[in-house]
């Protein structure tokens, strides 16, 4: 009985690959990750990272965007050609275009330097959780006093049905299906309005505000539909 319980509770160590050229950051990340039961491999350049990935499967990849040999973005694109392992990128402030490009190219999340260990670990756990969950969709989701029933296309707030337009619903569905993940403006616009509208951020601003007005406890200080500065949105169900 005890044995069974232990098997359920403890997860096997996960393997993480850190691609960063700074020895100091490598050491820091290794220490933090190993203390949290990850098996860590490090690579100091893009090419080294790619060859490590080719040799060995990793549950998680942490990739610095500023590498000495090839850009982090190029590494990311190559990684995505053959693996869907979650990739969390490390960037610095002032590099919003790079972050957006990386997220559009399939990065799962980003952490801005200097980051706190707690923040990094939370992002990593969330990224792994999302990739484990895979495509299996849950029929309904609860956040705050809101229930979204995807099967019935029904949204309730305090058990009262909330009237949403079809666009508002499509946007909400996209958000809840990617709970916790950053979605770039482009990704959302493409998905909800179609590729020809992917520059029309104004649609997004107005519709996100409408969702907030209908679903947030205080629309001016949102807790569910969070803005990622200049990048996109992140839906947080917790």
């Amino acid at each position: 009985m005890n044995n069974v319980m232990n098997n359920v509770v403890s997860t096997p160590d996960m393997s993480a690959l850190v691609i960063d050229d700074e020895p100091q950051i490598q050491r820091l990340l290794s220490t933090v990750l190993e203390a949290n039961h990850y098996r860590v491999t490090t690579a100091s350049s893009g090419h080294e990272g790619l060859s490590t990935i080719a040799k060995q499967r990793h549950d998680l990849i942490i990739l610095d965007l500023g590498l000495p040999d090839i850009t982090g973005l190029a590494v990311l694109k190559q990684i995505r050609e053959w693996t869907q392992a979650p990739v969390v990128i490390l960037t610095v402030q002032d590099s919003e275009p790079d972050k957006i490009e990386a997220l559009d190219a399939g990065a799962d999340d980003y952490v801005t330097k200097p980051f706190s260990s707690g923040e990094l670990l939370a992002r990593l756990r969330a990224a792994v959780r999302r990739s484990d969950r895979g495509k299996a969709e849950e029929p309904s989701l609860h956040f705050g006093n809101i229930t979204v029933n995807l099967a019935a296309r029904l949204v309730t707030r305090d058990n009262q049905a909330v009237k949403l337009t079809s666009t508002e619903y499509a946007l909400l569905r996209l958000f809840v299906q990617h709970a916790g993940k950053v979605l770039t403006h482009r990704q959302v616009l493409r998905e909800v309005w179609g590729p020809e509208h992917e520059q029309k951020t104004q649609y997004l601003r107005v519709y996100v505000q409408r969702l907030r007005d209908k679903l947030e406890p205080n629309p001016d200080a949102p807790v569910f539909f969070l803005t990622e500065s200049g990048i996109g949105y992140r839906f947080s169900a917790s």
């Binding site: 950051i25 933090v32 200097p114 980051f115 601003r205 107005v206 949102p222 500065s229 200049g230």
Partner: protein, 411 residues
């Protein structure tokens, strides 16, 4: 080649009180900005460009009056030289010598001086050399054709050479500019990287000590000190880099529709630590408050205003942030209940390194200058005043473009 100058002057700031930009391009002092830039980058006027070796461009040209004298001089020289040669050289050949001088002249002087030389040489040639001498009279159709052809060829040669040179100058100017911008960007990026890596290590390692747990209260406090010092260092580095970007004209705002509520929330989240002990009140007018801005720059500008209010007012005093559309502008205000600003300082609070007398330690006098730089590069304006409740009141005004086109939809 541009390195030495660029680096030496990298952190030299220009303030509004400095001499006007135009003056600095003609004086003995090396120019700090290319003339055509002073307007196109209107917003960054208060920071100067890093010095490039654009005197290389200037070396091409002497000031205009000297060019005209040079043109007259060359024509007179050819004439004086040609006069005694008349016996051996016919006047048609002399026209070719004039043409040669004209083309060479066009290589070094401007269009106006070239034109003057063409007209003057045609007149002198006709008067002294084309028979009959010492008169503008022309005997036959042969000489008439010669004079007209000379005039046209001289003008065209001068014009073509001048155009070619203008083109070359533009090329060189563009090349120098892009070289200097590239160098600036590379330098900034590597400085940014060099600073942030150790800060990341410090902040990350300190935080990790806490994650590992089992700390005494004293250890907890020390870790909190390391973390807050790290955060402060990071803010200073961020300020210096921002100032350098503004100064170097490296800012390229990515304007897109933004909801002001989002910008305010992001700034408040970013400033949460500094705002501890200051109640914050936000007042946002009903309905969408959209404007075309660069989200990140606007968030930084607002965060700086919030930090400014938090640092320079007594604890527990409220800070009020409001946003509304006023006429054709989106007005974003940050008001505090601190001591306010002395009337004579209102004009200068946005100047680089300007600090109020008796202001609290903390900050290097860049915060408000960055606010100004970031807002103006997006086409907005900043101003400071004293609020009706006492305390300082900072305004950001952004042009509110016509409301965006939205798809029609019903429930």
């Amino acid at each position: 080649m541009a390195n030495a100058d660029t680096q030496r002057h990298w952190f030299r700031f220009r303030t509004l009180q400095d001499e006007p930009l135009a003056a600095s391009t003609s004086g003995a002092k090396p120019p700090t900005i290319l003339p055509h830039q002073s307007n196109s980058r209107g917003s960054s006027i208060f920071f100067s460009m890093p010095l490039t070796d654009n005197h290389r461009i200037k070396a091409f040209l002497a000031p205009p009056p000297r060019q005209y004298w040079a043109a007259i001089g060359v024509v007179l020289f050819v004439s004086l030289f040609g006069y005694p040669l008349q016996r051996w050289v016919n006047y048609q050949t002399l026209a070719l010598v004039y043409l040669l001088a004209e083309v060479l002249l066009a290589l070094v002087v401007g269009r106006g001086a070239t034109l003057l030389a063409a007209v003057l040489s045609a007149a002198i040639w006709d008067y002294y050399f084309v028979p009959p001498s010492n008169s503008f009279h022309i005997n036959d159709i042969y000489d008439g054709t010669m004079v007209i052809t000379y005039c046209v060829v001289a003008l065209v040669a001068g014009e073509l050479t001048a155009r070619l040179r203008t083109y070359q100058e533009t090329e060189l100017r563009t090349k120098l500019l892009s070289e200097s911008e590239k160098l600036g960007r590379t330098l900034l990026n590597s400085v940014s990287h060099e600073f942030r890596t150790p800060i990341s290590a410090i902040v990350g390692a300190a935080g990790n000590l806490r994650v590992q747990g089992e700390l005494s209260p004293a250890q907890e406090r020390l870790i909190a000190e390391i973390e807050s010092a790290g955060a402060r260092l990071n803010r200073i580095v961020q300020s210096l880099l921002s100032a350098a970007r503004i100064q170097g004209g490296q800012l390229q705002p990515r304007l897109d529709w933004c909801e002001v509520r989002d910008v305010i929330n992001a700034s408040l989240r970013e400033s949460a630590e500094l705002l501890k002990g200051h109640p914050v009140e936000t007042k946002i007018a009903a309905g969408p408050q959209l404007a075309r801005m660069d989200f990140f720059l606007m968030q930084q500008a607002l965060s700086n205003l919030i930090a400014n209010a938090a640092i320079h007012t007594p604890p527990q005093t409220p800070i009020e942030i409001s946003a509304r559309t006023e006429g054709k502008e989106l007005l974003l205000q940050v008001a505090d209940r601190g001591p306010g600003l002395p009337a004579q300082e209102l004009e200068h609070v946005f100047d680089v390194f300007h600090r109020l007398p008796n202001s609290k330690p903390g900050g290097v006098g860049l915060g408000l200058a960055i606010v100004k730089g970031f807002v103006e590069v997006q086409g907005g304006r900043v101003s400071a005043a004293n609020g009706t409740n006492g305390g300082a009141l900072f305004n950001i005004r952004m042009p509110a473009a016509d409301s965006p086109e939205l798809p029609e939809e019903t429930l």
